[in-house]
């Protein structure tokens, strides 16, 4: 597959690359947190255009990759129940559980449906009053308003056969977990633009202060990414650590108040397990007690055996930036997008799949 090399604004891309080259003196590791940004960096070939002394580390910002195996197993279990329609975003269905993926559950007769939006799942519940409809509600802050809204709609319409299986994760606590790790190699962060479009940028001030590290809220197009990298490198070279916003055309400082309000109505902050990383305190959302009728975790008593992962998958080290995907011995051999061993090989936002699809490993090895 070829890179998207024909940028619409090649002169801007060239100018930004030139300015980055002129600015950078030291060796810097910059982590892009969001999987969409990883995908864009790799797909557009930007990693090979940056100067060698800037290393991009690919963070844990892919909800598909960090959803725990135990939850996939629960979704599969529910999908195999006769009375359940299990609805999910398309990216989730190939993720390996400890037994089956949702796709395999579907081929074995489970009623698994891929939807564009959780709001469609509420409609399906209305149309099928004698079935239980469960939406597999994964995502970061960007997706939380939509998942919360589906519960609000179901509640408002008195739809009782709808619930969500949540695995919501939050970005700032994950960044904090990475920074507080003693072997943390990250010198600066690109924060995820669309997450901040919802939540605003206020949560990052304490991180900037505590860890003395630049954080630049950044979009996902090539020009955005290069601008975000340049803003970060400028701070690093000047010995500064500030919160900056590259993506002002979409991200307002306060975020989206209506979205935050609907999240607060339905969800509360909880501890959350991240696949490949482990438990991170206060890093996820769970459905609030007064909406527990819509919480699939409480509605169904799912008793499943303890989940197990492929022990040779190094996804945790990849997501913490300790190794690059192609340094995993399974990469491209035992583990490919068609037969993934771990979640980062499944979604195109996962670092392993991004590298695989765009042959980055070979390019890097040949260099």
């Amino acid at each position: 597959m070829k890179y998207v090399s024909e940028f619409r604004s090649p002169e801007i891309v060239d100018a930004l690359l030139k300015e980055i080259r002129q600015t950078v003196k030291g060796n810097w590791n910059i982590m892009e947190v969001c999987g969409g940004q990883t995908h864009s960096l790799v797909k557009n070939g930007l990693l090979n255009m940056l100067p060698q002394n800037i290393q991009m580390i690919h963070g844990p910002g892919c909800p598909v990759c960090v959803t725990p195996v135990s939850l996939i197993d629960k979704a599969v279990h529910l999908a195999m129940e006769k009375n359940v329609i299990l609805c999910s975003f398309g990216d989730m269905i190939r993720v390996p559980g400890s037994g089956m993926s949702l796709l395999e559950a579907k081929s074995k007769g489970g009623d698994v449906r891929i939807l564009y939006s959780p709001l469609e799942a509420v409609k399906i519940a209305k149309e099928n009053p004698d079935r239980e409809v469960v939406f597999f509600a994964v995502g970061f802050e960007t997706t939380a308003p939509a998942n919360a809204l589906s519960v609000v709609h179901a509640h408002r319409e008195g739809v009782k056969n709808y619930s969500i299986l949540t695995s919501h994760v939050l970005v700032p606590p994950a960044m904090e977990a990475i920074m507080s790790d003693d072997d943390c190699r990250v010198d600066g962060f690109l924060a995820a633009g669309h997450v901040c479009a919802i939540m605003g940028i206020g949560e990052y001030y304490p991180l900037v202060e505590k860890y003395k590290i630049p954080i630049v809220v950044t979009g996902f197009e090539p020009v955005d990414l290069l601008e975000g990298i340049l803003m970060t490198v400028k701070q690093l070279e000047n010995g500064e650590h500030k919160l900056a916003n590259q993506y002002t055309r979409v991200v307002e400082t306060e975020g989206n108040k209506n979205a935050i309000a609907v999240i607060d109505t339905i969800f509360e902050v909880t501890n959350r397990e991240w696949r490949g990383i482990g438990n991170i305190p206060f890093s996820g959302y769970a459905v609030k007690e007064n909406y527990s009728d819509y919480d699939a975790n409480k509605k169904f008593n799912i008793d499943i055996a303890e989940a197990h992962e492929d022990p040779t998958c190094l996804s945790g080290d990849v997501m913490k930036g300790k190794i690059k995907p192609h340094q995993c011995p399974n990469f491209g051999t035992k583990c490919t997008p068609v037969k993934p061993l771990g979640a980062p090989m499944v979604s195109s936002e996962g670092a392993c799949a991004a590298y695989y699809h765009f042959n980055l490993a070979t390019v890097l090895v040949e260099e």
Binding site: G35, S117, A146, H194, A197, V250
Partner: protein
């Protein structure tokens, strides 16, 4: 799956006695439903960034066209088409 795609509001429908504002949004000709509850001031003709069926912010026309053009060029619009496995 964290993508937000810009589209133009074609029409608006009020549901449940006006409590819920749903719009038909055109993404380069593909029409999808989106909730406007997070951007209540959005009106017909406005451009909004839509993520999994919910508009999360308003954008201007130029930005919308620029981002949509990029996403189309990069082949990132799969989720707009009917998903089949």
């Amino acid at each position: 799956m964290c993508l937000a795609i810009p589209g133009k509001i074609q029409s608006i429908e009020l549901l449940y006695g006006g409590a819920v504002k749903m719009a038909k949004v055109s993404f380069g000709g593909i029409i999808k439903e989106a909730s406007l509850e997070m951007v209540p001031t959005a009106d017909v003709g406005d451009y909004v960034l839509v993520h999994v069926g919910v508009a999360i912010s308003k954008v201007n026309e130029e930005e919308a066209n620029k981002v949509f053009g990029y996403l189309r060029e990069a082949g990132e619009l799969d989720e707009l088409y009917d998903t089949t496995i």
